[in-house]
């Protein structure tokens, strides 16, 4: 293969790519909190719900964890308009990623509900706590500590997963890479830079999450 690397030709895209990386992070951030909320509601439905609530939650999880995320976004973007429901590409991507991650987080958080100590739940119940208070004061703090590693992992996967947005013309890091490539045809250089930027984002996210973990649970690492 005869190929001359010409990184010089793509430096002018760098600011653009960096701005795209920021958008990717923003998408991941928004989707993550949405998905976490869905996951919490889903886990509560599975744990406390009646027969029908549980069925609905299970059906949701089954739908979104057994089909490719890409198909889900395609469905939202291209199939829903047939029913008169229209989203912009960015909206479709955000909704798709959120619903997809929400399915996985429902499963992760459900395991957290199951691992709360029976003793603590008994004590809380006998004090007269309502279900919501139980979730807020006992279950969520327990989950936050015990499930911090798998939830952080999910977040990092979501940062990388935002790359699908580019397919739909969103101006995230991947979208901008695709555009820059169409203009310059420097695929190898561009994709190498983009890959490095994704690595940088992952490292950044990991560091931030580690700091959060240390701040919140540093004192009680040994208490599980």
């Amino acid at each position: 293969m005869q190929y001359t690397f010409q990184f010089g030709q793509i430096t002018r895209y760098l600011p653009d790519l960096l701005a795209g990386a920021l958008i990717s992070l923003e998408i991941a951030f928004v989707c993550f909190w949405g998905a976490l909320l869905i996951g919490l509601l889903g886990a509560m439905a599975l744990h406390f719900g009646g027969v029908w609530t549980r069925r609905v939650a299970r059906a949701y999880v089954a739908c979104f964890t057994n089909t490719p995320g890409l198909v889900q976004i395609y469905f939202i973007y291209f199939a829903l308009p047939e029913f008169g429901i229209l989203f912009s590409s960015l909206q479709a991507v955000i909704i798709g990623i959120t619903l997809n991650a929400g399915g996985y987080l429902t499963l992760i958080l459900k395991s957290g509900f199951l691992s709360v100590h029976r003793n603590e739940l008994d004590a809380a119940e006998v004090m007269g706590m309502s279900r919501l208070q139980l979730v807020r004061y006992i279950i969520v703090p327990h989950i936050a500590r015990v499930l911090f590693p798998p939830i952080s992992n999910k977040f990092i996967l979501m940062v990388l997963g935002t790359a699908v947005a580019g397919v739909f013309g969103v101006e995230d890091l991947m979208g901008r890479t695709i555009n820059a490539n169409a203009e310059s045809f420097r695929a190898i250089e561009l994709l190498s830079v983009t890959a490095c930027l994704y690595v940088a984002m992952t490292i950044l996210a990991t560091l931030v999450l580690a700091a959060v973990s240390l701040l919140c649970f540093g004192r009680r690492r040994s208490s599980i």
């Binding site: 809380a124 006998v126 004090m127 007269g128 703090p141 004192r219 009680r220 208490s223």
Partner: protein, 246 residues
């Protein structure tokens, strides 16, 4: 009218019967101790009373009002007046000592946080934990956790206090302290149901002693009667065993 009246109570875990035909009536301000061999159903009786295990049969009447264990309102009214200290303490691991004690009065009873905290600090000082307010349960010894659990129950200002083996993790000196607290509460007219293996403690603090065996109360009477002149064979047997053990 008895403060707490239990009539013909049956309870079971899944299909395994644990309590059968338990009847017990406790007057206001009375301290009734439950003794009996391990597995005889003492803890289970307390769990049924506070609504953690629904009874299969029988009634519980609190101050003249029957408790309906399938009704949330009735349960809330019951839990508003009863507090329990569990055998395993059951502290909240994600909260420090002070928050363990204050969470229920503040969040459930909606009392003023500052007032509750002041009261909690006083209670914790009384049980010798004034310097551990910010410690987490995992940083405490068993006896310290037990005392937090006692303070947590008292912070609820219950009329009826259920104590499950609260002295088992304490050294003799602390047993005395807890005894003092309990005597104080008795003086204030609190009704108590106490499970204990500590015979000195039981003798000292109880107005009556009930001996449980295989899920039933086999004999009930004053401490002197149960320990010095038991009537049933089962009671004679048990008392002889614990006397030998001491």
């Amino acid at each position: 009218m008895p403060h707490l009246e239990i009539t013909n109570l049956d309870a079971a875990y899944k299909s395994q019967p644990v309590l059968s035909g338990v009847s017990l009536s406790v007057e206001k301000g009375e301290v009734v101790s439950l003794i009996g061999p391990s597995g005889s159903g003492k803890s289970t009786l307390l769990r049924v009373l506070v609504g953690l295990l629904p009874p299969r049969k029988g009634t519980v009447v609190l101050d003249g009002t029957p408790v309906d264990y399938s009704d949330q309102r009735s349960l809330r009214a019951l839990r508003d007046r009863c507090a329990i200290v569990f055998q395993q303490f059951n502290l909240f691991r994600n909260m420090d000592v002070l928050r363990n004690v204050t969470i229920a009065p503040v969040k459930i009873k909606k009392r003023d946080r500052r007032e509750v905290e002041a009261e909690a600090e006083a209670l914790l000082a009384k049980v010798g934990l004034g310097d551990k307010l910010r410690a987490y349960p995992s940083e405490l010894s068993g006896g310290q956790q037990q005392r937090v659990a006692i303070a947590r129950a008292l912070a609820l200002r219950p009329e009826i206090l259920l104590l499950d083996e609260v002295t088992s993790a304490l050294d003799p000196e602390l047993v005395q302290e807890v005894l003092d607290i309990i005597r104080l509460l008795v003086g204030e007219g609190m009704t108590m149901l106490v499970v204990s293996h500590e015979m000195g403690f039981v003798r000292e603090v109880s107005s009556r002693v009930a001996l449980m065996s295989a899920g039933a109360i086999v004999e009930i009477g004053s401490p002197a009667q149960i320990f010095d002149a038991p009537k049933t064979e089962r009671a004679k047997d048990f008392v002889a065993k614990i006397l030998r053990a001491h």
